[in-house]
């Protein structure tokens, strides 16, 4: 009876501790850092929004995955709701703005986007907001007297029409497989009062089989315009000759294309050694024959 009482008290105490633990977990929601950025690859394309979530672990920020984020356009209402996205292992998530918002995007000069995390079990509610001035880049590529010029004009949508955007920093790049390569003589160019900037293209780089390279002018992570770019393909690269060495006798080709020297010499050695081994086996047969003859004698 006494032990039963002790057991009951212990059980109640354990339940109490469990409850305290759960309550403590409820109370300990972590602060989340939410970033929102605006990206548009080409003029006329629908923009894309990128979100990233991070939290502080020790002294550094680490990405947080599987966080649901609500994205809104202009206002945090059901009317402005663009969609809900979930962060990947790298703590990032992307949303391309749906087609039904095309009209509003085209008619607005300033674009406002809001990202929110609400009712998350682990993290406190958080929101992030950006306001983008709608802009676009017109890229022209010209070659005169063997001088290749890249010219970009940045235009800002104001009062229903496109107007030059002076004092804007842009980059000229060549699109490569893994990242962009600086194509201008300088890292950054600032547009003049006409919204224009230009640079000479002096690179000697391989293009595709036709010699095409993709050149882009872009504004990178601007607080005012977001990240926008405009690109064009042009035959300013060296035509890439495909490597057909697999069809030749090389060390990296298939077995039917083994180099002759590697076929002849090792096979000669293998044949010689195994010839001797076969001779030795034949010697066993000889010894056997002698033994049988000896028996008969």
């Amino acid at each position: 009876m006494r032990s039963l009482r002790i057991l009951s008290i212990a059980s109640v105490w354990w339940l109490f501790l469990l409850f305290m633990d759960v309550s403590a977990q409820d109370a300990e929601k972590v602060t989340l850092r939410l970033d929102l950025t605006y990206h548009r690859q080409e003029n006329g394309q629908l923009p894309m929004l990128r979100t990233s979530t991070m939290t502080k672990v020790g002294k550094r920020f680490e990405p947080v995955h599987d966080v649901e984020i609500n994205i809104f356009f202009n206002e945090e209402t059901s009317k402005g709701f663009l969609g809900r996205i979930k962060t990947s292992d790298k703590g990032t998530a992307f949303l391309t703005i749906p087609n039904e918002f095309t009209y509003e995007l085209d008619s607005s000069a300033a674009l406002k986007f809001i990202a929110t995390v609400t009712d998350n079990e682990k993290f406190e509610d958080v929101s992030s907001e950006i306001e983008i001035a709608k802009a676009q880049i017109e890229l022209t590529l010209n070659e005169e007297d063997s001088i290749r010029i890249m010219k970009a004009k940045v235009l800002l949508f104001e009062e229903g029409s496109w107007k030059p955007a002076p004092e804007t920093e842009i980059k000229f790049v060549v699109k490569r497989l893994l990242s962009d390569l600086n194509a201008g003589e300088e890292e950054l160019y600032t547009t003049d009062e006409l919204g224009e900037a230009s640079s000479e293209f002096k690179l000697n780089i391989p293009g595709n089989a036709n010699g095409d390279v993709i050149i882009a002018a872009k504004i990178d992570e601007s607080d005012v315009y977001g990240s926008i770019s405009s690109s064009k393909a042009v035959k300013w690269g060296t035509p890439l000759m495909s490597d057909n060495s697999f069809a030749k006798r090389t060390l990296w080709s298939t077995r039917d294309k083994t180099p002759w020297w590697l076929l002849i010499f090792p096979n000669l050695i293998i044949a010689s050694v195994w010839g001797v081994i076969l001779y030795l086996i034949y010697q066993i047969i000889e010894i056997r024959k002698i033994g049988k003859t000896h028996k008969n004698l």
Partner: protein
């Protein structure tokens, strides 16, 4: 043979004939069988679920299986050292050690081949190595050279065994399984002059041929690593480094076997302290040689400490593998050198202990050559789970690895049960010559 009295001949024969296992022999064999079965269970698990049951992942794609393979290839080299090199250089005291070294070579090379199949994710495709192998790949060179070395080693074991077989037939129970085996493999040996001439000529041919093949087998194994551009493997010295290490571990293995057979079969008259003394000197020389190559392999890169190789070197010197690294150097080389330099260290028991140190040190040394390099790639490990940056063998891997080691020892044990571990005929011949003089 006639110069020795029949009594002496009978004594030698009785001393050297294989004997039934006593209690320790039965326990030893049972343990080996159990360990081998454990290995088979581990392998069955691996066949069921694939290589995911191992601790090998994207980076450490070669683990203790390949370390074990390199160890087996290394220890197999002793066959060519004791049997061939000593025979060609007329080392008179080699006779009691030749068969020991040859059976170590054969059993080791069999398991070297098997462990490669075990390391394959799809073992049923093993034949593709032969059907679709490319001569451009060092892996196919290894397959060819292992097969060749196994064939030569078997012949090297078989030819000198022939004169002993009539003795075995005579002294085995009529109609027994053992006698049937002896008759099957050697009833035709009548000891005629012509048979001896052919046999001796064959042994001479093998003695000459097996040396380059033995050097090739371990050099090619070293090329599996050295032809790959990785920290710790990118060395032009690797062939010589591997061969010197192989001679050392092989000699250590022979010393351990000498002691065990001497003790188990009371062979003190045949494997004498003189043999231990000579083998001790050889082990010291080989340990010094291997230490020299180790200094070359580690000190020179450490002096330069190229940024790309720093992670690998530091993981060995002070990092994750430092305990194992310094233990392998100390136990596998430095302690045996110090102990065996003194005549009292070359007595049977200390020799046995040092032999064990050399063999165990050599196994871990092979692991240190294979795996730390893979965990220190030139492009730092990124975008992969934390566990991929380390290698911890699973119980299946350990069971299989221990199982193969037990399997190799089981071959030697069964061989010793069936055949004389010291050549009877050759010993009688040798003692007759000595008696004549």
């Amino acid at each position: 043979m006639s110069t020795l009295s029949q009594v002496s001949i009978n004594k030698i024969t009785a001393d050297l004939l294989p004997k039934k296992f006593g209690k320790p022999g039965i326990i030893w064999t049972t343990v080996l069988v159990m360990l081998s079965i454990g290995g088979l269970i581990g392998y069955f698990r691996q066949l069921q679920s694939g290589l995911s049951v191992t601790g090998m992942r994207d980076y450490a794609s070669w683990g203790i299986y390949i370390s074990n393979f390199v160890f087996f290839v290394a220890i197999s080299l002793v066959g060519s050292l004791i049997t061939a090199i000593f025979r060609l250089t007329n080392v008179s005291w080699r006779t009691p050690l030749t068969r020991i070294s040859e059976i170590i070579a054969v059993s080791a090379i069999i398991f070297a081949g098997l462990i490669i199949i075990i390391d394959m994710g799809r073992p049923e495709r093993f034949t593709n190595l032969f059907l679709h192998g490319r001569l451009q790949s060092p892996i196919i060179w290894d397959v060819i050279v292992i097969t060749t070395y196994l064939a030569l080693s078997l012949l090297f074991l078989y030819f000198p065994l022939l004169p002993d077989l009539p003795i075995m037939i005579k002294h085995s129970r009529a109609g027994s399984v053992n006698q049937k085996i002896y008759k099957f493999i050697g009833s035709f040996w009548k000891g005629t002059a012509e048979q001896f001439r052919i046999s001796e000529s064959a042994v001479k041919i093998i003695s000459i041929m097996i040396i380059p093949v033995a050097l090739a087998i371990h050099t090619v194994t070293s090329w599996l690593f050295a032809t790959t551009y990785r920290p710790g493997w990118d060395s032009t010295n690797f062939g010589a480094y591997f061969v010197s290490g192989a001679f050392l571990v092989g000699s250590g293995g022979v010393v351990v076997a000498m002691y065990v057979f001497r003790k188990a079969y009371s062979l003190q008259e045949y494997i004498t302290e003189k043999h231990f003394n000579y083998m001790g000197k050889i082990v010291v020389m080989l340990a010094l040689l291997y230490l020299y190559f180790n200094i070359n392999e580690y000190l020179v890169p450490a002096f330069k400490m190229k940024k790309a190789e720093e992670h690998h070197l530091m993981s060995l010197f002070t990092g994750e593998f430092s305990y194992l690294f310094w233990s392998a150097i100390l136990v596998g080389m430095i302690i045996p050198i110090v102990v065996l330099l003194f005549p009292s260290g070359r007595k049977p028991l200390p020799m046995f202990v040092m032999g064990v140190c050399v063999v165990v040190g050599a196994w871990f040394k092979r692991f240190l050559i294979v795996t730390p390099t893979l965990l220190s790639p030139f492009l730092p490990i990124s975008n992969s789970p934390e566990s991929y940056a380390h290698y911890h063998p699973t119980w299946e891997e350990w069971a299989i690895t221990v199982g193969t080691l037990a399997g190799a020892l089981l071959i030697i044990t069964v061989f010793v049960r069936l055949f004389p571990i010291i050549p009877i005929h050759e010993t009688i011949e040798e003692q007759s010559k000595a008696h004549k003089l």
